[in-house]
């Protein structure tokens, strides 16, 4: 297909507009994080900090228990990712290999669970966890995150399982291996990259999650990073911009790094799930 020079120029102009739109808020966040208080108070802000400083980061750690919050987030996200993948992989395997009524119901649930407003689930969960004395506990949050991560974990993993050829499994079955053995010794190793990608994706979504954490965690020393970040906003929404930007920037780095590593696999996995089901 030939594209005329004019059309090419138009395409580049459009691409440039997209790049600006996608990048400028983030650049502004980073720039604000490194600006000294004097520049932040200026009525004519500049794109780049004229006199970059780390003061905002220091102040952010002084104002809020960021390290504690990051640790809570890490425990919640890691716990959710590991448990979700451990229990989702076998189920995804059955869903991918058998078109039974159960597999159909599970697929239906994956779709339907995306449509429900969380408020309908969180109120009963709040009552249940309260009775179990798991309100204001990271363990309770992990339980919620596991179930919350399951639909897309199943979705991605079913795609990955379908991509694994069945011949080796059939050979194993002929040799007398059962379902569990086949999964553990034949399929799982081939699935490993997909399992890791799914776990990392679950990790990021839990790391970023806000609503459940807001409802279930009450005291600052139990709260996760997104909840603690909102404390910077203050009651009237009047915020100390520098530390706010610094803390927000820091909270993004882990997700950005992990996401950059697995981006191709995630899109691949979601496509596999979407296209073949």
């Amino acid at each position: 297909m030939r594209t005329s020079r004019r059309a090419r120029a138009g395409q580049y102009a459009a691409l440039l507009a997209y790049l600006v739109f996608l990048a400028f808020p983030f650049l502004w966040l980073v720039s604000t994080a490194f600006k000294p208080a004097r520049e932040l108070a200026s009525l004519h802000p500049t794109w780049l900090p004229q006199d970059p400083t780390l003061d905002n980061f220091r102040q952010a750690f002084d104002e809020q228990p960021l390290l504690r919050a990051a640790l809570n987030s890490l425990v919640a996200a890691l716990g959710a990712a590991v448990i979700a993948v451990l229990i989702a992989t076998p189920m995804a395997y059955v869903m991918a290999r058998h078109r039974t009524r159960l597999a159909k119901a599970a697929t239906g649930w994956v779709v339907v669970s995306q449509a429900f407003p969380f408020v309908l689930v969180i109120i009963p969960l709040f009552l249940v966890l309260k009775n179990l004395h798991l309100i204001n506990s990271v363990a309770g949050l992990v339980m919620v995150y596991v179930v919350w991560a399951l639909p897309f974990a199943l979705w991605m993993l079913v795609g990955y399982v379908r991509a694994v050829p069945t011949e080796m499994e059939e050979a194993a079955a002929v040799d007398g291996a059962g379902k569990v053995r086949t999964l553990v010794s034949i399929t799982a190793p081939l699935l490993a990259p997909g399992i890791v990608a799914t776990a990392l994706f679950a990790f990021i979504t839990a790391w970023n999650e806000f609503f459940f954490a807001l409802v279930l965690l009450k005291t600052p020393e139990k709260q996760t990073l997104p909840v603690v970040l909102t404390h910077f906003l203050g009651a009237e929404g009047v915020a100390d911009l520098g530390p706010l930007a610094a803390a927000a920037f820091l909270a993004t780095i882990p997700s950005l790094v992990v996401f950059a590593l697995i981006q191709k696999r995630i899109t691949g996995g979601m496509l596999a799930g979407a296209v073949k089901s």
């Binding site: 297909m1 290999r97 109120i123 059939e170 059962g178 909102t230 911009l241 950059a260 296209v275």
Partner: protein
């Protein structure tokens, strides 16, 4: 591990994928239960419990026992103008985000599908909104929208377009301002889904159409769009639901203000449940949200699929 199960069914070869209606054997149950139990206990169960709560007068921190009140919550909701106002705002927000986002994402996907030089950079940048916590996205845009120290008003001043304004606190500008953020935040997922759809359309068809002298628009309409339509339909439907049910972004940006102008249904229900402790009433709100959204979507999907057959 479970060698017993393995031996028992040793002679039978594993059922092939696609063998429909086969009963699940014991090994399969063993594999399914670890996920099935948490799903039933922590997802399906609470969901049913939540629906049941909508028919009670459940409140937090109350000493008298909770009682069934029948459809009373729903009758109250019917007359709750604040709720319907937030419902209307939710619909405006969901449509206002989903539609422009789809158009923009389609444009970006078409560009990324071409052999352009800066493609890698666009792909890399598109990760940012996707990977960011919604809370950070909200904070970031509050910095952009900040009336004095924000870059948006400064740019407006630099361009000589006036003094700018306090976007998030203006009664008229707040909802459009949060909608822009919503569009920005969800663009990557939509773009990736559409790009995948584009890459599934056979190139030969394109080339054949080009040979026949079809221009870019004709090729898009006759080759690209028909192939993309199922993906487009699914992604817009999902985006609509997600947007209608969204919470964190607007909670951080405006807390539902000014004067309730950005109070999405989820923010309303959250306040009702966890600020005022009206669990039963908030659960009823959740039920109404599900019901109305399901109806809208059913009409949308059925209508579009019909339209597709006619065309």
């Amino acid at each position: 591990m479970t060698l017993a199960t393995a031996r028992k069914r040793s002679a039978k070869p594993a059922p092939r994928a696609g063998g429909s209606g086969r009963p699940v054997d014991h090994g399969a149950w063993f594999l399914v239960l670890p996920a099935l139990i948490p799903i039933l206990v922590l997802s399906v169960g609470p969901l049913l419990y939540g629906i049941a709560l909508a028919f009670t007068d459940a409140q937090s921190g109350r000493t008298e026992p909770t009682q069934w009140v029948g459809a009373l919550n729903f009758q109250d909701l019917l007359h709750d103008t604040l709720f319907w106002e937030s419902f209307r705002i939710g619909l405006v927000w969901a449509v206002g985000v989903t539609v422009p986002q789809f158009v923009l994402a389609l444009g970006l996907a078409l560009l990324l599908n071409e052999e352009l030089r800066l493609r890698w950079l666009a792909r890399a940048l598109a990760i940012i909104p996707w990977a960011m916590p919604e809370v950070v996205v909200g904070i970031m845009w509050r910095l952009v929208y900040n009336p004095d120290a924000g870059i948006l008003n400064e740019t407006i001043r630099d361009l000589g377009l006036g003094d700018g304004r306090d976007w998030l606190s203006g009664l008229a500008s707040a909802l459009p301002a949060v909608i822009v953020v919503g569009i920005w935040a969800g663009m990557p997922q939509t773009t990736v889904a559409l790009l995948a759809g584009l890459q599934n359309t056979p190139r030969e068809l394109h080339e054949a159409a080009a040979m026949d002298g079809a221009g870019a628009w004709r090729r898009f309409r006759t080759v690209t769009w028909p192939a993309l339509k199922p993906v487009a339909l699914a992604i817009t439907a999902l985006n609509f639901i997600w947007n209608f049910n969204s919470f964190a972004l607007v909670y951080v940006l405006t807390q539902g203000g000014p004067g309730g102008r950005t109070r999405l249904p989820m923010l309303f229900a959250y306040e009702e449940a966890f600020r005022y402790g009206q669990f039963g009433y908030a659960a009823a709100m959740g039920c109404v949200m599900v019901a109305v959204i399901s109806v809208i979507l059913a009409v949308h999907l059925v209508g579009r699929l019909r339209g597709g057959e006619d065309a």
